[in-house]
Symmetry: C2
Subunit: 463 residues, 2 copies
């Protein structure tokens, strides 16, 4: 969870004032990453004390005969499983967790099996892993406990098509809805009603065992019914919603026989609806967010405070098109420098969230680097740094996690004959920052709690 | 300076919680407008005390023989002139100020003449007014004082083409540069070098008299060389800059004989360059911003505090495309409601600045109403109000100053069969809020210090 090119990023021919801000920005980002390390997040929340499993402030009783079964999946499944085994030791009976293919052998586990699965397109191995989980939880009793590990990517990594539905059906419908511009809420209502696992159905399969879900949130605002399509959360959507969405986007007429039959069954009541918030089964389900964007942002703000900045966690709900967010954030930076609002210098504003990019050009980039590029174009000359980082370490289809922009970025680019506007125009933010040596490199961090943006503004000590 | 449809805006079938927030938002906006009333702003800064004219913390000596000449122009010229006569009484010798045609008879003035002029397209009457000013200041001595009143719209209201250049030349070039996408800085470098008044040239004409410029800022960040094209401010741009801009946008080849000759003279040195920051003449020039977006935003935040809100002046540098700013601001509102960042409830965030709209549709609207419409689409269900106001009372080509959006706006629109997205798509924000009764109406306020956005979020006392 380190920024691997720290020295290069702070040692790169800038003024001392900007170098200091850059170094501090990286320290605050590293502290934030540390705070949302999945294993550490699990260990912070989960502990065993006598006959009780403590999860944050909640406690679940476990008698000697009670089994502890671990299931779940997501990009952070491996380190979260390590955390559970470290916290509960031999009390773990068995476990099966789906993780990104290629990482299944990277963790030291005694009782929990890691199953390789595919992301973002789900595959049959993922389905096998989920069937394995269902097998483990199906025959449990009221004395038993299921610990469910949920993190980003879990929706694709934990596929289980409903009867009559194929993985291919789900892939086709998902692609069609995305292309037609469906919202994430609309998409989820359909996915949950073509699955036998999502939308609270895992929790139902665990009955009568108690369920503790440990959730590493990769969705802005931490909606537990949305993260990994909410396998242990009540589903606010219905079969009717799913059908309406498919009709709205003109896909209903093109469904396979199997999908059509399944949806018809759901509408008629011969196929069970996903469990709703008033379902008594949720009395024995505890959904606990163990790490989130908020935790990362709070840590970054605290670290900036320790480093001597007036710091403010502005929001964990940064959204919108990356290039426009960049304009907004550069305006904030300018305001801090010009009249000390909302903070006096030296100042650090922390924003969490996740922006989007409507790709139009043929360049290489990601939302975080594009935000940084756009912001850099409006902070020229300011003693400001804007650091943008995807906490998973992967920004778009690049090997960078984000980028560092500052008041000298535009001038340095123009010196090298690079036009920031032209790079932005073709969505080529990665190439832009690579040419300047200003990509932030972490490698995959194993966690994912959305993105962080830090705006640091300082006194110009060089003048 | 009142919101004239206050009762309608707060009495319109919403929940008590939203009604309370709406009412408080309007109170804070009215207080802000009051704080930047041009006459009051002049009276707050300008006073006579014995032989001294005080301007804020600066003082200018005035002996018995010294004349006081008042010149300038802008949309707030009338009330500012009233303020000067009230502050200095009989010490005002004479004055000539250009104002919007039709308002020249609306003010009670004894010694200052108001000249009608045209905006946004300058006209010959405007030129006559400026020549009148030049006549008044040209023969002054070192004992005399010129008080220059500058406010938004002053660039168009105070035209004085350089020798050989016509108003038509300037209009054509301005339109061409705007169409080609020139920045305001580029545009100003050209306008200042085709004028005998802008870019510090008024200050030069006043020599050896002392100059006190009272500036009502309508530009984000209050750059005095930009407001009304800076007639009393050093000009950072040169003839060479102006020529480069004209070449960059392909207009240089199409210039009239007169313009070409004037620019050539400037490049050769036979026509004087605009005065620069190191010109000794500026030792006797005091440029004082008497009211600005910051003053309005500070007052709004203070009023919200008085009304019981945790309040924060977030920035006076809100910029960017209105609809994207709306997305950003709705994210901030959601963050305040969800996790109390940056403020605990009840909360009021104040943002000043000026957004833009790239008009693509054929609807009727303005930047402030479009921002409110866009924001309303993402705050559905929240106990939040987003109030957006142009301080001049005029938002786009409409009779509204802005709009009130809240957590019920989308639901109310859908009930009436109105699709917020469709109205946004065709830039029809005025019609949208008119149908809901949610335009904010003030009439022209006589001031202009950009725009204000307030985000108020409260506890949902209705639940």
């Amino acid at each position: 969870m380190k920024i691997v090119n720290k020295r290069q990023l702070t040692d790169n021919g800038r003024t001392p004032a900007l170098r200091g801000l850059r170094s501090d920005a990286l320290k605050a980002l590293e502290a934030a990453l540390e705070a949302v390390d999945p294993k550490r997040a699990v260990l912070d929340k989960l502990h065993l004390s006598g006959d009780w499993i403590g999860v944050g402030s909640k406690h679940v009783h476990l008698n000697d005969a009670g089994k502890v079964i671990v299931v779940g999946g997501g990009k952070a499944g491996g380190p979260m499983a390590e955390g559970v085994e470290e916290a509960l030791g031999d009390r773990v009976t068995a476990g099966s967790v789906n993780v990104l293919r290629g990482t299944e052998s990277s963790f030291r586990l005694k009782r929990i099996r890691l199953n390789p699965a595919s992301h973002p397109i789900p595959d049959e191995e993922g389905v096998r892993g989920v069937r394995d989980m269902i097998g483990l939880v199906s025959a449990l009793g009221a004395d038993d406990v299921v610990i469910c590990l949920i993190s980003g990517g879990g929706s694709a990594l934990m596929p289980l098509p409903s009867e009559g539905v194929t993985l291919g059906d789900i892939q086709g419908i998902t692609a069609g809805l995305l292309k037609a511009g469906a919202t994430i809420g609309e998409l989820n209502s359909v996915r949950k009603h073509l699955s036998a696992f999502k939308g609270g159905q895992l929790a139902r399969a665990c009955r009568p065992a108690r369920v503790v879900s440990l959730i590493l949130s990769d969705v802005v605002g931490d909606p537990i019914d949305t993260i990994a399509s909410g396998p242990s959360a009540p589903d606010p959507t219905t079969f009717a919603d799913a059908v309406n969405v498919l009709k709205k986007y003109g896909l209903f007429g093109h469904l396979s026989e199997g999908v059509r039959g399944h949806l018809a069954g759901g509408m008629e009541g011969s196929v069970a609806e996903t469990p709703k918030a008033d379902d008594p089964l949720f009395r024995d389900v505890h959904n606990v967010v163990v790490a989130s964007n908020l935790a990362a942002a709070e840590r970054a703000a605290a670290m900036a405070g320790d480093l001597g900045y007036n710091s403010l966690l502005l929001t964990t709900h940064l959204e919108g098109e990356a290039r426009h967010a960049g304009v907004f954030l550069s305006g904030l930076a300018r305001g801090v420098q010009v009249n000390g609002h909302p903070l006096k210098l030296p100042a650090c504003l922390v924003l969490g969230g996740e922006t989007t990019v409507a790709v139009k050009g043929d360049g290489v980039g990601g939302r975080n680097q594009e935000l940084a590029l756009s912001a850099s174009m409006s902070v020229g000359g300011l003693t400001c740094v804007i650091a943008v980082l995807g906490t998973d370490g992967i920004d778009g289809p690049t090997d960078a996690a984000g980028a560092l922009a500052d008041g000298a970025t535009t001038a340095r680019a123009l010196e090298k004959g690079l036009s920031p506007g032209a790079f932005l125009e073709r969505n080529d933010s990665y190439s832009f920052f690579k040419a300047l040596g200003d990509n932030i490199l972490t490698g995959p961090t194993g966690t994912n709690v959305n993105d962080l943006t830090l705006i640091l503004c300082g006194l110009n000590r060089d003048e």
